[in-house]
Amino acid sequence: MTNASRALAALGDATRREIFEQLAVGPSSVGALAARLPVSRPAVSQHLRVLKEAGLVEETPEGARRIYRLDPRGIGAMRDWLDQHWDAALAAFKDFVEQPEEPTA
């Protein structure tokens, strides 16, 4: 599964999308997210774990709490795309540059 499809799958759940959008507004703790959403703390933690595995959020410890924020490396999906893009582009380049030179008209 690519990062992109993992990200899509992670955001396919309405509650996770809501959490993701909350974090787009600013970093937050599990408790603060649970207070703003009609979801229990354990459920929020579970959703955050899925978002984290999809590369969409990251966590940093702050005292006894963990603070969650959007992971700018969610853009790892972008890197995956570029990796595939350059494979395809360079294969096409090789085909092109190795074809016999066309006689100039």
Binding site: A4, A24, I75, M78, R79, A89, L90, V97
Partner: protein, 151 residues
């Protein structure tokens, strides 16, 4: 925070001069047609052959869509481009990821081509900046990305 560059190497049966020329002056003839950000398909991909030159695609109706610019130009050894297409598939003049391509003769008539796309962490920083300035920006970024990859 840094993200590992994308590095590709390949060998082509051509001289460095021919490889450099084909890569730059004929880019529109081999660049994947689906890898475009213009409103309509491109008929040419233009890399102006000088430092500071523009890099853009041109559609049949003459419309030009910027992709980036030339940062270094050293034929036939190589060049560096600024790839300024953001994670939401738009030209972003403030985004400066770099693509360096080098051509090295291997002595048997073939050429080693090395491509490095680096400073990829800038995608994230720009995306974060956009997310900070537009409500729900990140969701849009991801959705555009998924649409693009899926399409």
């Amino acid at each position: 925070m840094t993200i590992k560059p994308v590095v590709k190497t390949l060998t082509v049966k051509a001289s460095p001069e021919r490889a450099f020329e084909a890569f730059t002056a004929s880019m529109g003839q081999w660049w994947p047609k689906s890898h475009t950000i213009g409103a309509t398909p491109f008929v040419a991909v233009v890399m102006e052959p000088r430092v500071g030159g523009r890099w853009y695609e041109r559609a049949a109706d003459g419309a030009e869509t910027n992709w980036g610019k030339v940062l270094a130009w050293d034929p036939p050894r190589g060049f560096v481009l600024a790839w300024q297409i953001s994670a939401d598939w738009a030209y972003d003049p403030n985004l400066m990821t770099e693509v360096e391509v080098r051509f090295e003769a291997k002595g048997d008539g073939t050429t080693a081509v090395t491509l490095e796309h680096r400073r990829l962490e800038l995608f994230g920083e720009r995306a974060q900046a956009m997310a900070d300035s537009f409500d729900g920006g990140w969701v849009g970024v991801i959705q555009h990305f998924v649409d693009f990859v899926g399409g």
